[in-house]
């Protein structure tokens, strides 16, 4: 659904600074129905990437296809087949919510504009406020309206740029739930976000990006590949020789005492844990809890960005 080959975008800033490369040889292959997270710090080139893939700006080099249409050659078809939620909702504040959506329904050539507008206003809980000017809406309501605008024409691929930024927890949850719903409908979602917890929950795969892709994988594989899998064992009456005992196992990469617990990095906990527990018990330890210590996506992200 989204494919790029060496996609590059360079901007000429001024004579002193010269050129800056916002997107550098980006290679992506986002599958149909996938929720793809695009994570990166401010100024990493995420919005530029979304603009390139939405056929809003042209690439300096490289090629890209969205929904089968090549960017730069079939831009109008690209734009007709995608929905985009920009960083700012950008509604027409003096016009009613309904009028705002009607304009876009007509611009996208939606067959039954009034019906489609009603469907999404109801779905997002805005129907009762349809006649109110968009300018009178709260930030969360405006964001919901902007989401409705992005999907009015039932696009196959949706670009969401910081969809929950600045929203209160309730509104953010509503937006996240709605993204989950879009996912179940089989749409491809390209999600730019700073909210790592959100990316962890929603995305099938994520790319950590700073002008170029630093790492691309599923959130869980990214954790494993970077930090391995860590098991936390809480024992009563443990002593130092027990740590040495654990380190004899081939699948144990490291073991240490942390806050009165044994924290061991292991290759395959599902297979190895029973042997570990048995060895500890035989050595006289009273095992109270065994759990997997999960690294957050934030750990992964910060490690990738800071080590670059």
């Amino acid at each position: 659904m989204i494919r790029t080959e060496g996609l590059t975008k360079t901007f000429a800033v001024d004579k002193r600074i010269g050129k800056i490369t916002a997107v550098d040889r980006l290679d992506l292959d986002v599958k149909a129905g996938e929720v793809f997270g695009f994570l990166g710090p401010n100024g990493a080139g995420k919005t530029t990437t979304v603009r390139l893939l939405s056929a809003l700006i042209g690439a300096t080099s490289g090629r890209a296809w969205v929904n089968g249409f090549e960017i730069g050659k079939r831009d109008q078809e690209v734009r007709a087949s995608i929905g985009i939620l920009t960083e700012q909702p950008g509604m027409y504040d003096r016009l009613s919510a309904q009028k705002n959506l009607m304009i876009y329904a007509r611009l996208y050539g939606v067959p039954n504009p009034a019906g489609q507008v009603e469907k999404y206003l109801r779905m997002l809980g805005l129907w009762d406020r349809r006649r109110d000017p968009a300018g009178s809406f709260s930030k969360g309501m405006k964001q919901k309206l902007a989401i409705a605008r992005a999907i009015l024409h039932e696009p196959k691929t949706i670009f969401l740029d910081e969809p929950t930024a600045g929203l209160d927890p309730e509104a953010a949850k509503l937006v996240r739930d709605f993204i989950e719903e879009l996912k179940t409908e089989g749409r491809t979602i390209f999600l730019c976000t700073h909210n790592l917890d959100e990316a962890d929950r929603l995305c099938d795969r994520i790319a950590v990006f700073k002008h170029r892709v630093i790492k691309l994988d599923t959130p869980s594989r990214m954790r494993t590949s970077m930090f391995g899998r860590t098991v936390e064992i809480q024992v009563r009456h443990a002593d130092e020789p027990m740590l040495a005992l654990l380190k004899h196992f081939d699948f144990v990469k490291s073991a240490e005492w942390v806050d009165g617990k044994i924290v061991a990095q292991v290759d395959d906990p599902e297979s190895g844990n029973p042997a570990l527990v048995k060895a500890l018990v035989e050595a006289g330890a009273e095992v109270q809890f065994v759990s997997e210590l999960k690294h957050s996506l934030e750990d992964v992200y910060l490690s990738l960005i800071n080590n670059r």
Partner: protein, 261 residues
Amino acid sequence: MRIRTLIDKEWNEVFKNKLVLFTVLLLPLVFAVLPLVQLATTRQVNPGELSDAPGNIARLCDLQGLTSAECMQTFLSQSFMLFFFLMPLMIPVTIASYSIVGEKTTRSLEPLLATPTTTAEIIVGKGLAAVIPAMAAGWLSFAVYLIGARFFVVSDRVYAAIASPVWLVGMVLVAPLLTLFSVGAAIVISSRVNDPRAAEQLGALVILPVLAVFIGQIFGVIALNVTSMIVFAGVMLVVDAGMLYLAAKLFQRETILTRWR
């Protein structure tokens, strides 16, 4: 269809702005009523009152054998006629400034640019949304003036000077070209300004060419006739082509998103 939607959107939004509405409604009213008041108050003129008129006007009046009142009405109405050219300049610049800069400040241009609407459709839609009310207002107030003047002129000779081919050519040919110039100027200015009022104030500079003609005419430097009006139209055509080319160059998706400030 998309152009119509855009025009509809522009009118729906921009006419909710009281300042724009005020400009579009008040200007035509003022420019239709003021010259009529001037005609009504110059029906009786003493010959001595013409002493302030430029020499060329006085000579022309003598040459044509006009009475003092006829001379005064002809001179003033000719001067006021140029104000009908101000509407095609001022109304589009006001509408287009609020429309484009307004969209810049509310960040609503990007979602619009992300639709399948072409750049040409957006420019034509926004342009027509500014041009149509300006032309309608200009022609309507001119028509009101032509009808009203019939009741206040002192003679058919004065009316013939008002409803002369010069001004008919001007309103039919020059006025639309002035509106296009105004829209082009508004787009160029809007690309560099973030406040609609600043854009409108800068845009007001578009009236300078007409003011120059107005002053030139008062001082007898410029004689307006059908030929000079056609020459003026020709010049405006060239200026419009340049201005619209520049506007179209600035109004490109990438330029708007990456260079407009």
